[in-house]
């Protein structure tokens, strides 16, 4: 299909969608990873009466408090963009993928309040109860991609959608038997924990806590290594079930981005191994540690762009062809692009304000509930 045949309004919709998904993915991946690490260390704090684990868990969790709601808002933005620009796709997805989407919504319902509750009840309720809330918070987060990743696997290799369009039958579990789904889900989960670990490591450099850095790097590195298996597995699956995307990524327009991503993965592997060796053997943190979170974030962004945009100009890929994005687009009205740009402007403004809040929270240490003298005593 000729890409130039896509109307400019549809193209703006696709670019806006890609931008929002990329931002959303960074935030949700970070919070999913940080959430599980925090829950684990909160548990260690309770079980071993370990004050360091307590402080580390609470300090790591500041990332969630600052970023989770902002992360969620990008989910809402994606929904409105989808319904506004591609109403046909939303109508089809909410029908065929009713059950997976319901799983995601239920998880969101549990996840977001449990984060706020976990933070604000810390020290106000029994530690064991609090620990349990921590695990509810951490595990409910993974229910979100468990549902929403079916949408991605279905537009990559439409199994449940194909069944519906050919027979009119909606099966609640067909999307989970999609051969693309589980490799993608695994790839996603490893990425989230790895990113969460590296983000923690980078932020721990601000507190100059070698132990904290070491923990973050350990999680980041272990799951990065796991990605060395999950990534190629997903790539191999695409080769079989979504050849258009595979070709586009491996030998097509998206190959340069894919290569940059691979170079960054190699860099991250080297820098994080070096950091891990230094923190565990010499009890010191190399200056390059701060870059771990940034490199990991860049990898996630590039990976998501390659995964999503390589289907262009199709929205749903079927082997080496597909259904154009235009077929699902909104022609019910002329969307005023000036309004779209104004909204994007304000969203960028919100990112700046968020950056300011994050700066005060992490760099200026405004979110510091534990006095420095107590922290010092713990780290000695």
């Amino acid at each position: 299909m000729d890409p130039s045949a896509v109307p400019s309004g549809v193209l703006v919709g696709l670019l806006t969608l890609q931008l929002s998904v990329a931002i959303h993915i960074v935030f949700v991946s970070t919070t999913l990873g940080v959430g599980i690490i925090t829950a684990l260390y909160r548990t260690l704090a309770v079980k071993r009466s370990d004050p360091f684990a307590e402080v580390f868990a609470r300090r790591s969790f500041r990332i969630m408090i600052v970023s989770e709601l902002f992360s969620g808002v990008w989910g809402t933005i994606i929904t409105v963009i989808l319904a506004g620009f591609f109403p046909g796709l939303v109508a089809l997805a909410t029908n065929v993928l009713f059950t997976p989407i319901a799983v995601s919504i239920a998880s969101i319902l549990i996840r977001i309040p449990s984060i706020a509750i976990f933070w604000y009840t810390w020290g106000r309720i029994k530690p064991e109860t609090h620990m349990l809330i921590g695990w509810i918070m951490a595990l409910s987060g993974f229910g979100i991609p468990l549902g929403f990743r079916t949408l991605f696997s279905e537009i990559t290799h439409p199994q449940a959608v194909g069944l519906y369009l050919s027979s009119g039958h909606v099966d609640p579990l067909t999307a989970y038997s999609n051969p693309v789904y589980w490799p993608l889900f695994l790839h996603t989960i490893f990425a989230t924990i790895s990113l969460g670990g590296f983000i923690i490591a980078s932020l721990e450099t601000l507190t100059k806590d070698v132990r904290g850095v070491s923990i973050g790097v350990r999680f980041g590195l272990i799951f990065l290594v796991a990605q060395l298996f999950a990534g190629p597995l997903y790539w191999y699956t695409l080769h079989y079930y979504s050849s258009y995307i595979f070709q586009n990524v491996t030998f097509g327009d998206f190959t340069p981005i894919f290569i940059i991503k691979m170079i960054l993965v190699a860099t991250l592997l080297i820098v994080s191994t070096y950091t891990w060796a230094l923190t565990s053997k010499l009890n010191t943190t190399p200056r390059s540690t701060w870059s771990l979170g940034l490199i990991a974030t860049a990898i996630v962004v590039l990976g998501e762009i390659v995964n999503d945009s390589s289907r262009y100009p199709y929205m749903v890929v079927t082997g080496d062809t597909g259904i154009s994005a235009t077929a699902f687009s909104n022609f019910y009205m002329d969307i005023p692009l000036s309004v779209v740009y104004i909204i994007l402007g304000f969203l960028i403004f919100s990112i700046i304000v968020f950056g300011l809040a994050a700066y005060y929270a992490f760099v200026k240490m405004f979110v510091r509930e534990i006095p420095e003298e107590i922290e010092e005593k713990i780290f000695k």
Partner: protein
């Protein structure tokens, strides 16, 4: 057709729970601002500590508000997916603009939480005010979306063609031929909208149905609704804090709680005075003009009757009759000889065109069924829908008058509490005499009772007001245009009892758990540092 009642109840549950948190989201900032202003002037740490506590409650509440908002949003696209057509057209502008509001209210709330007590109080006030403006803007836009469902602005006389008693909804910014063609195809196929719009290329086949994207924001009904709803939310949200402090003052006698009440009561008092007298009145006028069946249901007007007081308030003329369903039926009968086919023909829609269009859209319709639909009398459609509306008269009528009564309770309580708290010449003596306040104990008790009544009166009034708004527009989801069955989901899973039960369970557990957590945050002191110090053997 599947029974839609469980889905309607599930949606109502989600919306009511969302309303609780939205009220706090909009009301607590007023309390925080009042306390911060007082703190800036007095430097009394009591106010800053209270701000911290209210902010912690606001933060947990905001998370719950955000997820219940997500629930309502997904409720629209998943439980009522036919509304996707409206989201992609009539209400896209407010929903898209709401993204600005939502994203920015979140970042300013985070900035406020992170910097509170670390920067100058004036800056904190500015940040929370900006947050509040974005939160109110969000409420404004979402109310305009709901208002479009209640009074579909921009559709001109489309509804009037079927229901002669209905008004024209603003200028015609839509293509009536396309709307009527779609409606006839839905009736003939028995399919919901989702079954049509989910098919690839349907949007380009149907083409433009809306010419002014901003129409939902231009509705006079929306304007009044926005103010009425936002005032109600702020009253309830700030009323919670007043009632909580009233209770603490009553139980402990701690004067600090009295200080806190006095700091926030005046703005709430002003809002409670304005809500029924000004905004409630204008809201009533809008209902009279744009929702004639709802007004008749509210007044119990199965038959037209005279009531000078209601007529004066509603029409500005005490001699005007309260139009009842008898007159609506009579107007329906005026269309006895008009069929849907005549209506379609007047818009240039032939049977062949409709069959051809349904084929293009991938919707199979039986010719016989199409003939049956086209030969239906407009009067029959009109009368059937009036029957469906009339069946809800009792619930709407009694809910409306209970709402009025509870609003009066809140109104009188607000008038009474101010002279109890402040020395207002003459009024204070009168109120204290009526309430027999002659000791500190009786004063404490009455302050608690009155603040509680402001809160409870506001809550009941708002909850029933929303019930009247939603039930009163039935049997339509979009007043005069679409039934719930037309926007219902195509997926059979949505109707399964297991889904409804699971969804209800999760919604209740999360929301009730969240409310309990807010209670803990509001009532228990933070012992985190003490516990940590004790564990480390640190004294002091």
């Amino acid at each position: 057709m599947s029974d839609l009642s469980p889905l309607l109840h599930l949606s109502a549950l989600g919306i009511y729970l969302h309303a609780i948190f939205v009220s706090l989201t909009l009301g607590l900032p007023l309390v925080i601002i009042s306390l911060l202003v007082k703190y800036a002037r007095s430097k009394d740490p009591v106010y800053l500590n209270s701000v911290r506590k209210v902010t912690a409650v606001l933060a947990v509440n905001f998370a719950l508000g955000a997820v219940t908002g997500t629930l309502v949003e997904f409720g629209l696209v998943q439980i009522w997916p036919g509304t996707i057509l409206a989201i992609a057209s009539f209400v896209l502008a407010p929903l898209a603009l709401e993204l600005i509001a939502f994203a920015n209210e979140i970042v300013f709330l985070i900035l406020f939480i992170v910097t509170l007590g670390r920067i100058k109080t004036l800056y904190s006030i500015i940040i929370i005010v900006i947050y509040w403006i974005f939160a109110l803007f969000s409420g404004l836009l979402i109310t305009s979306v709901n208002s479009w469902l209640v009074a579909p602005w921009g559709t001109g006389g489309v509804a009037q063609a079927l229901y002669p008693f209905m008004p024209s909804y603003g200028p015609l910014y839509t293509d009536p031929a396309k709307l009527v063609a779609l409606k006839i195809i839905l009736l003939a196929s028995g399919s919901p909208i989702q079954a049509v719009i989910q098919m690839p290329n349907v949007s380009s086949e149907i083409g433009v149905i809306l010419t002014d994207p901003m129409t939902a924001l231009l509705s006079p009904y929306a304007l009044v609704s926005i103010l009425h709803n936002l005032f109600a939310a702020v009253i309830i949200g700030s009323g919670v804090a007043l009632a909580a402090w009233g209770y603490r003052y009553y139980k402990t006698g701690d004067k600090r709680y009295l200080q806190l009440i006095k700091t926030s009561v005046i703005p709430v008092f002003i809002l409670v005075l304005l809500q029924p007298t000004v905004l409630g009145h204008f809201m009533g006028e809008m209902v009279v003009e744009y929702n004639p069946t709802k007004f008749a249901l509210m007044e119990g007007a199965e038959k037209t009757f005279y009531n000078p007081l209601v007529a004066l308030l509603a029409y500005g003329d005490p001699n005007h009759p309260i139009i009842g369903f008898d007159q609506f039926y009579a107007q329906c009968d005026s269309k006895k000889n008009v069929t849907l086919k005549d209506l379609a023909s007047s818009l240039g829609l032939s049977k062949d065109y409709l069959l051809n269009l349904s084929n293009k859209l991938g919707i199979s319709i039986n010719q016989e069924r199409l003939d049956q639909v086209l030969n239906t009398s407009v009067a029959d459609v009109c009368r059937n829908d009036l029957d469906a509306a009339l069946s809800r008269m009792n619930i709407v009528h009694y809910s409306y008058y209970t709402k009025i009564a509870s609003g009066i309770v809140a109104f009188l309580s607000a008038i009474a509490v101010v002279p109890v708290l402040y020395n207002v010449p003459i009024l204070t003596r009168i109120v204290r005499a009526i309430l027999r306040i002659n000791s500190e104990n009786s004063e404490k008790r009455w302050i608690f009772i009155l603040t509680l009544l402001i809160f409870l009166g506001g809550v009941l009034s708002a909850a029933l007001g929303w019930l009247v708004r939603e039930v009163g527009r039935k049997p339509w989801t979009v007043y005069g245009l679409l039934y719930p069955s037309e926007v219902a989901p195509a997926s059979p899973i949505a109707y399964q009892t297991s889904f409804i039960l699971a969804a209800t369970f999760i919604v209740l557990v999360v929301n009730l758990g969240g409310l309990f957590a807010m209670y803990i945050v509001a009532t228990r002191e933070l012992r985190f540092l003490d516990l940590l110090k004790r564990g480390l053997g640190i004294r002091g």
